[in-house]
Each structure stands twice: as C-alpha cells, then as structure tokens.
C-alpha cells in the first residue's frame, strides 16, 4: 500500500496517534495538562486538514475511494469510503470538536492528572464519530458508533464527585446501549433480508435491492425500522429522546456542547449514509416513517422545552425539536442532503456557542443551570448576553441568522417532496419555539440582576463565542458558499 491508499482513513489514524501521544505525555512529563491539550487540539486540526485534502483529492479525480484489508482500488468488501460526504462530515466534526474542546479547556486544566484520560477519550470519541460517517459497511458503522458512544458515556460522568453526574452517565450508558442493541439487531436483519452488510461494491445492499425483489418484505421493513430507531436515540429524535435532558443536565457543562453537537452531526450523517447509500430504493418505506418521527420530535421537543426551568433541559428539548427539523430534510431523499448538511453544520456551531455560554454562566463543572442564574445577564455581562441572544435567534429561526436559512432550506426540500403537512406542522411548532427562546431572552434582558457574581469569560471560551456568533450571523447573511459546498457533499 502506498500513502494515497491510506488517505481514506487518514483522519482516524491522525486522531488515534494523537490519543497515544497524549497518554505518552502523561508518562514522560511531570504535569502535561496544557501540553496534552495542545496535542489533542493539533490532532483535531490535522484531521480537519486531512479531510480538506480528501475533498481536494476527490475533486482531482482520486481513484482510491475505499479502504479495505484487500487492497485498492475497488475491493470486494470495502470498509471505509472516501467521498464528498465523508470529507464534508470530517471537516464539520473536527472543527466543531476543536471548538468544543476549547470550551472544555478550563475543565481540562482543573482535572489534574485525569486530563490525559479526558483528552484521550475526546479524541477517541471524535474518531468514532467520523468513522460512523465514513463507513462503507454496516459493521464498520457500528464499530464507529460504539467507539464514540463508550467514550462519551465516560465523559458524561467525568466529574464523578457530583452524584448526579454518575446518574447521568449510568442513564446515558444504559439507554445508549439499548439503542446500540436495537441498531445492531436491525443491521443483522438487514443482512438477513439482503445478504450483505456492505453499502458499496458487488453484492452490496444497494445492488441487491436494485436487482431483486425482496422475498420477505416484512423483515426488510422491520430491519429498517430498528436501524432508524437506533439512530433516533443517538440524534435525540422523539420518542427516543428521554435520556437527553437528564444527561445534558448531569454532564459537566464544559463538555455537553461537544456531546450534543458532535453526536448529532455524526448520527444524522450515519443515518443518511445508510438510507441514501444502501437503501435509496426503499425511500417510499422509510421517508414516511422519518416524517412521523420528525413531526413527533418537533411537537414533543418544543412543547416540553416551553415548560422547563433549567437552561440545559431547555436546550436538550430544543435539540429534540431541531432533530425533527433536520429529519425533514431526509424525507426529500437526495434532494435534501444539501439542506441536511447546512442545517446540521450551522446548528452544531450554534449549539457549541450556546453551551459555551452555559459553561460560563453556570460553571464548566456544574450540572444544572437553573433559569435564575441567567437573570439580568445583560446588565452583568452585556456582550455575553448579546452573543447568547444571537444564538437564541438562530435557534428560533429569525432571519439574518443561520437558523432562518437552515429552516427555509429544509422546509423547501420537504414541501417540494410533497410533505406539505410536515411543513405546516413545523411552522406551528416554530411559533411555540418563539416562546421558548424569547422567554430565555426575557430572563437575560428584562429581569433585574439576580446576583453580583462577576461573570468571567475564559479567553478560549471567548474565542469560541466569537467564532460561533460571527458564523451564525455571517452565514445567515451570506449562506451561499456553504450551501453550495453542502450540495456537493453527496455520498457515492
């Protein structure tokens, strides 16, 4: 194998190498907290660069699109695929992870000797997340899913001196494992129905379904159902969202943003990979199911977000609602992929920013973030409050923010695909969403200051907030370059 043959798995290789170096630093140096963080950051940056190089190589007509034990260029059983889809996912996941890690920076420094552990887990989780999006095979996708999930279970309970952190981690682990089991059962049934676990190549699921009439359509339907349910857990789509509010509330604020944003990107991308690459012929079966899940997510997410008193729970339920909006893009099939990417990318950037503000207001180690702590934020920290307002406007879908563009594109995609009822439902839930986000804005801007505590914004967090706020507005004003890229990021 030459170097070019490794390009499809370059990001993963870089991240794993980074993880090993972080652990080695712990052995070699006395107090390598800051150095470890820098190495982790560098590994993420290098992985992002590798993804950019993948994109360029694809533009130049690279022929080593797959990675497999059997060699190149088109192995019989490809395991990892390199296409515009996976390269785009890579850039988004790695950049968002860098921002997430920057928010967690202060948490890392206070962890002492455990910081190496923390950073290693983050790198492994990110590698797993990208693997989910770049897999060419159900088995590989599952391995990526589990790599990411197990690392994140541990991260959720990382501040274990707090009782509710344990609770969050255990809950996340139990429900997450259940989701994995459901997913892998669905994968097994897909194999039963199609005789393959591969997405590409001779004898793949796609080819089988294109060339044959399925003998047992019930098994295929059940298989697709289980796969969708398993992934719905990961992306917190209703009614499989119950873990999210408790886990977000219990996990350290410094890392929730990365959990929420990273898993969503990878989860949606993986779901898209399965549906668009392996099961495109079955769109008439899975699109209505996704439309129903989307509708349920919007309703449950916005309504429950409206009655929460804790900002992290509000954001968790808002995440459920946004999962619904993103799923609207899926029902449009291939036409919706660009909208899905735009939504997922901009939503991830906003969510990282929002949780960065949470980490500042409530402390990066803390679990809960009651509304009372946000009272009068605009008097205590005007810039922070304005930045948060921009993010909230984006989440509410107000124009001149990315949230508006994202909503318009997915609404257009779903309506064009004939799902007018879903768009009308989405419009109605958007109204409730206005209440959710403006209520939080009211607490920050309209109520008097609750405490005199000084709000300290760490420099790394300030940088993340600047990036998140600027991209939210700039890509809201001029979304065209990103929209064009997103529309190119199609799976093979």
């Amino acid at each position: 194998m030459n170097n070019a043959a490794l390009l499809p798995i370059a990001p993963e290789v870089i991240l794993l190498a980074g993880a090993l170096i972080v652990i080695l630093l712990l052995v070699l140096l006395d107090r390598p907290y800051r150095e470890g963080g820098i190495v982790a950051m560098a590994a993420l940056a290098a992985a992002a660069v590798a993804s950019v190089l993948q994109w360029q190589a694809l533009g130049d007509g690279a022929d080593n699109l797959y990675f497999s034990a059997q060699g190149v260029p088109v192995p019989r059983l490809p395991m990892v695929v390199m296409d515009h889809y996976s390269a785009f996912a890579g850039v988004v996941i790695f950049v968002v992870s860098m921002l997430g890690l920057a928010v967690a920076w202060r948490l890392v420094l206070t962890l002492g000797a455990r910081s190496a552990e923390f950073l290693t887990l983050v790198l492994l989780a990110v590698a797993g997340l990208h693997m989910m999006t770049a897999s060419a095979n159900m088995i590989m996708l599952f391995i990526g899913l589990e790599t990411a999930s197990i690392a994140l279970y541990v991260l959720a309970g990382f501040t274990r001196e707090r009782a509710n952190a344990d609770e969050a981690a255990v809950k996340y682990f139990l429900l997450g494992s259940l989701a994995s089991v459901v997913f892998v059962y669905g994968a097994a049934l897909l194999f039963a129905a199609t005789g393959s676990t591969a997405f590409y190549g001779a004898g793949s699921m796609r080819e089988f379904l294109a060339e044959n009439i399925v003998a047992e359509p019930a098994i295929l339907l059940l298989a697709m159902g289980l796969v969708i349910v398993g992934m719905s857990f990961k992306v917190t789509a209703a009614p499989f969202h119950q873990w999210a509010p408790d886990v977000y509330q219990g996990a350290p604020s410094g890392i929730v943003g990365l959990m929420a944003a990273g898993v969503k990107i990878a989860g949606f991308a993986a779901l898209g990979r399965i549906l668009f690459s392996a099961l495109p012929s079955q769109i008439d079966d899975w699109a209505p199911a996704l439309a129903i899940i989307a509708g349920a997510s919007m309703i449950i997410g916005t309504v429950l977000a409206a009655v929460q008193d804790d900002v992290k729970r509000i954001l968790a339920y808002s995440g459920v609602a946004h999962a619904g909006y993103i799923l609207m893009a899926f029902v449009a099939g291939n036409e919706g992929i660009g909208s899905m990417w735009f939504y997922v990318t901009t939503y991830a950037l906003t969510v990282i920013g929002v949780f960065a503000v949470v980490a500042v207001v409530s402390g990066s180690r803390s679990g809960s973030s009651p509304l009372a702590e946000w009272s009068g934020l605009s008097s205590r920290a005007p810039v922070l409050a304005w930045v948060m307002l921009i993010m909230l406007l984006a989440l509410a879908g107000i124009p001149f923010t990315t949230g508006f563009v994202a909503k318009v594109t997915v609404f257009t995609a779903a309506t064009d695909a004939g799902y007018l009822w879903l768009m009308i439902l989405a419009l109605v839930t958007t109204i409730v969403g206005l209440y959710v986000y403006f209520r939080l804005a009211a607490v920050m801007f309209l109520e008097g200051p609750a405490g005199v505590e000084e709000v300290v914004v760490p420099p790394t967090t300030a940088l993340v907030l600047a990036v998140a706020a600027v991209t939210t507005v700039l890509l809201g004003l001029l979304p065209w370059p990103l929209l064009d890229l997103a529309r190119e990021a199609l799976p093979l």
Binding site: S378, P399, F400, V408, F411, I431, L434, A442, L446, E447
Partner: protein, 508 residues
C-alpha cells in the same frame, strides 16, 4: 444604488453608536440622533427624483444571490412604498429626539432603534419575497427589546405577547412564501424563485390562491391589526416607551396594509375578489369597534392605541373597495395616520415624562398650565378626527367615496367612525385639558420646552400641507394602485367602476 444605501445607512449608524467607547457615553445620544438624519435625506432625495406617473418600480437594484434557489437582493420603490419609506425615515429622527427620558442602557436602545429602522425600510423596499420576509421578521427583535427593556410596568407580558402574536402570523407567511416560491420555480425551471415580478406570471388555481391568500393574510391581518387579531396592540402600545409607540403605530402597522396591497391583492387577484366582502366587513368592524372601545378607555395611551385600530379599519375598507379612490385613499390614510398618531403618541409621551401617569382621571384642566401643549394636542386630535384642511380628511374621504361606489352600505356604516372619533378624542380632550385644575399635582406642570416644540412642529406643518394640497402625494400613489386594479380586472371578471369623482376632486 440609492436604495441599498438607504437601507444600510441606519445599520451603519447602529455600528457607529455601538462603537462609542464606554468613557465617552455622553456622545451616545447626540450621535444616535445625528445618524438618524442621513436616511431621511436619502429618502427625500428618492422622493424628489421619483418619476411621477410611472406605475412600476423605480431605482431597481437586482442582484442574484442564489441562482438555484432564486433568491436575490432585489429592491425597488413605487408609488405605494415611496411615502411609507419617507414616513419611516421622518419618524425615526423625531422618535429618537423624543427619547431623552431613556437613561438605562442608552447605547443598546439606540442600536435597537436603528436596526428597527433598517428592517422597516427593507420591508417597504424588498422586491424579493424571501428578502421581504427576512426584514418583516427581523423587526420583531428590536421591537421586542424596546418594549421589553424600556417599557413600563407590565412590559414583560406585553413584549412576549407582541412577539408571539406577530410571530405566529409570520410563520404562516413563511409557509406561503415557500409554497409560492416553489410554484414560481417551476416557471423558471429552478427549484424556487422569490422575485415578485416573476411571481406575477404564475398561474394559480382558485384553491391555491385562496389558501395562499389566507397564509399571507393572517400575517398581515395581525400586523394591521384586524379585529379580532388586535389584542396584542393595546398592550404593546401601552407598555412601550414613547419612541417605540410612535414607530409601532406610525410604521409597523403599515407593514400589514402594505402587505395586503403589495402581495395579497397583486399576487392572488381571484381570491381577493372572492374575499372582498369578508375583509371589507372586518375593516368596518374594526372602524366601529376600535372607536367604541376607545371611548371608554381610562388610559390615554390605550385610547390612542384603539383609535389606531379604527383608523386601520379605514385602510382595509379602502383597499378592499377595489376602486382607484379607495386604494389611493387607503394608502393616504396609512401616511396620515402615521403622522397624526405618531404625533399623538409623542405628545402623550411628553405628558407621561412629566407626571408618570397615563390615566385620564389623574389630569383635568391642564390647559391652563400647558397652553402650547393643549393647542398641539387639539390640533392633532382634529387631524385624527378628519377635520377638512388637515391630512386625516383627505384619506378618509377618499376611502369613503371609493368604497361607496362598490360597497355603499359599508361606506355609510364606516362614516360613523368619523363621528365616533370626534366623540372619543374631544371627550378625552375635555377631561384632560379644559376646566379648572382638579388635581393639585398638576399645578406645577411646565409647558413644552424648545426641544419638544421642535419635535412636534414639523409634523404639524406636514399634516397641514398635505391636508390642503395632497396632489403631489396622490399623483404618485395613484398610478401604482391603478396597476394593481388593472391586473385584477385582467385576471378576473371583476370590473372597476369608472364613474364617480376622482380623488382630487373629492378631496379639493
């Protein structure tokens, strides 16, 4: 390039205000006032260079942003939007000048005001439906903050109610825009297109027209507001700071009337003709209901707020009379109402700044201590009632004449609105100003200062000028509204009545 400049000027001003360093906070207010002037200059320049008699859009900027989605930075101005733009640009400097009572977070206040101005100018100038919607919706945010942060006691409730009511309407507008954009896309062989000039060529079925009319209409009905969607307005007006009330009544409500005229009547002519009765009746209900409720208001600001409901009813009646006089009159009422009600809110605000109460019962006989103020108030009350020679008369007469041609019964009922206006305004005037001073707390009230007189006098002069000689205004409005009527005639079986007085004769 004058229109993009016009929209961006307030935004540039907002940035300038935001950049004032903390230790030079005394510069914030003068700078805010200064940067609100250039948009007025630009708007007047546009008005001066506007080609009279030309019905379609002028000063057009067309810059495609996304080929496949059919979105563009498309701006233009015609007779319908021209005066609304001038009105907007005129009211903002006056509203800012009337904001000296704001001492808390002045910088944020001025930034919010200037962003609001950008949004409103954009609403009236956008020729791309999605761009229009973006401006239409962004207006919510600064107005929410203005009411919510700088309003009076019940501001939290009022501001959230404002956002939810008007936001609820606009999401259906967004839905309608997307559907219509997809229809238009089929026409030009793209996914979608939002150019309203292209949209005119889309042939829609009657059912599609009806549903789209309703989706668009609900958003505009809430903004106007049409009874029964008006309940947000008295709360928002009452709790808002003076400047926000001025803009709310003067400009924000006009987004609704403008929307009906520019989009509903232009894009869905068949549905318009079918629904004429429904909307005209709702307009008349608004006229009478708003006036009757205004009579019994104990709160003077609420009284003016309900009078807005009544006046906007005239706008609606005029538009859906579907005659040249009615449409022209409807647009003219919007302009006149913006000036007169804006002035009334400014005046109420000046009184509130002195006594911090808006209850009519707390006053009585204050004409003896504030003669200039009382004179100004009476003048604007007469303008609002529609005294001949002042601006209110021209528009309402044109509406009544125009609607009498097609909807005579409704026109006769609507005429009672003029009488009721005299009742609520003059009765309120009597209780607040005439007789001896009943409340000793009012004895020390001082009359208007130079700054306050300078704010009101321009409005007094304009109200008089366009009341006596409305021709320059009407000449520019009429060709554009006639174009809409021509389109309705061309696409439906409806015929605009030819006979009857022209607006000029009627108003002369």
């Amino acid at each position: 390039m004058v229109l993009p400049t016009l929209i961006l000027l307030p935004l540039i001003g907002a940035v300038a205000v935001a950049l004032v360093p903390k230790n030079r906070s005394e510069l914030v207010f003068p700078l805010g006032l200064a940067v609100s002037i250039p948009p007025l200059v630009a708007a007047l320049w546009v008005a001066a260079n506007f080609t009279v008699g030309e019905a379609s859009f002028q000063f057009v900027t067309d810059h495609t942003l996304s080929e496949s989605l059919g979105i563009g930075w498309r701006l233009g101005i015609d007779g319908i939007s021209l005066w609304l733009v001038v009105l907007t640009a005129l009211l903002f400097p006056l509203a800012v000048a009337a904001s000296t009572a704001i001492t808390d977070r002045t910088k944020s206040y001025l930034v919010a005001m200037l962003i609001l101005e950008t949004g409103l100018l954009g609403v009236f100038l956008a020729l791309d439906l999605l761009l229009f919607f973006a401006f239409f919706e962004i207006v919510l945010v600064p107005m929410y903050l203005l009411i919510g942060i700088w309003g009076s006691e019940n501001r939290g409730y009022a501001s959230l109610k404002f956002v939810l009511f008007t936001g609820a309407g606009s999401v259906f507008l967004l839905g309608g825009i997307i559907v219509l954009g997809l229809f238009t896309g089929d026409l030009v062989d793209r996914l979608s297109s939002f150019d309203i000039r292209v949209m005119l060529d889309v042939e829609l079925s009657s059912t599609a027209q009806l549903w789209l009319f309703l989706a668009f209409g609900i958003a505009f009905a809430i903004k106007v507001p049409i009874v029964p969607f008006h309940t947000w307005l008295p709360d928002a007006h009452t709790e808002a700071p003076t400047a926000a009330s001025v803009i709310l009544a003067g400009v924000l409500l006009k987004m609704g009337g403008y929307g009906f005229l520019r989009f509903n009547m232009t894009l869905f002519p068949e549905a318009t003709v079918d629904l004429v009765w429904v909307l005209a009746v709702l307009g008349v209900i608004g006229i009478v209901y708003g006036a009757v409720v205004a009579i019994v208001q104990p709160d003077i600001k609420r009284l003016v707020a309900y009078s807005s409901v009544s006046h906007m009813g005239f706008v609606l009646l005029g538009l859906f009379a579907l005659t040249s006089q009615g449409l022209t009159g409807g647009v003219f009422v919007m302009i006149s109402h913006g000036l007169v009600t804006g002035a009334l809110f400014l005046l109420v605000g000046m009184l509130y700044d002195r006594r911090h109460t808006r209850l009519i019962d707390d006053y009585g006989g204050i004409a003896t201590v504030m003669p200039i103020y009382a004179g100004f108030f009476l003048y604007m009350a007469f303008a609002s009632i529609g005294l001949p020679g002042l601006s209110g008369f021209v528009g309402e007469l044109a509406v009544l004449v125009g609607s009498y041609l097609t909807l005579p019964v409704l026109a006769i009922i609507a005429a009672s609105g003029v009488i009721l206006a005299a009742v609520y305004l003059l009765w309120a005037y009597e209780r607040v100003f005439t007789g001896p001073i009943t409340n000793s707390a009012n004895e020390g009230l001082h009359d208007l200062g130079l700054r306050e007189i300078a704010i009101i006098v321009p409005l007094i002069l304009i109200v008089l000028a366009i009341g006596i000689y409305p021709k320059p205004i009407l000449d520019r409005i009429q060709p554009s509204v006639d174009l809409i009527l021509e389109r309705i005639e061309a696409t439906t079986s409806y015929e605009v009545p030819e006979h009857g007085a022209t607006v000029d004769e009627g108003a002369g």
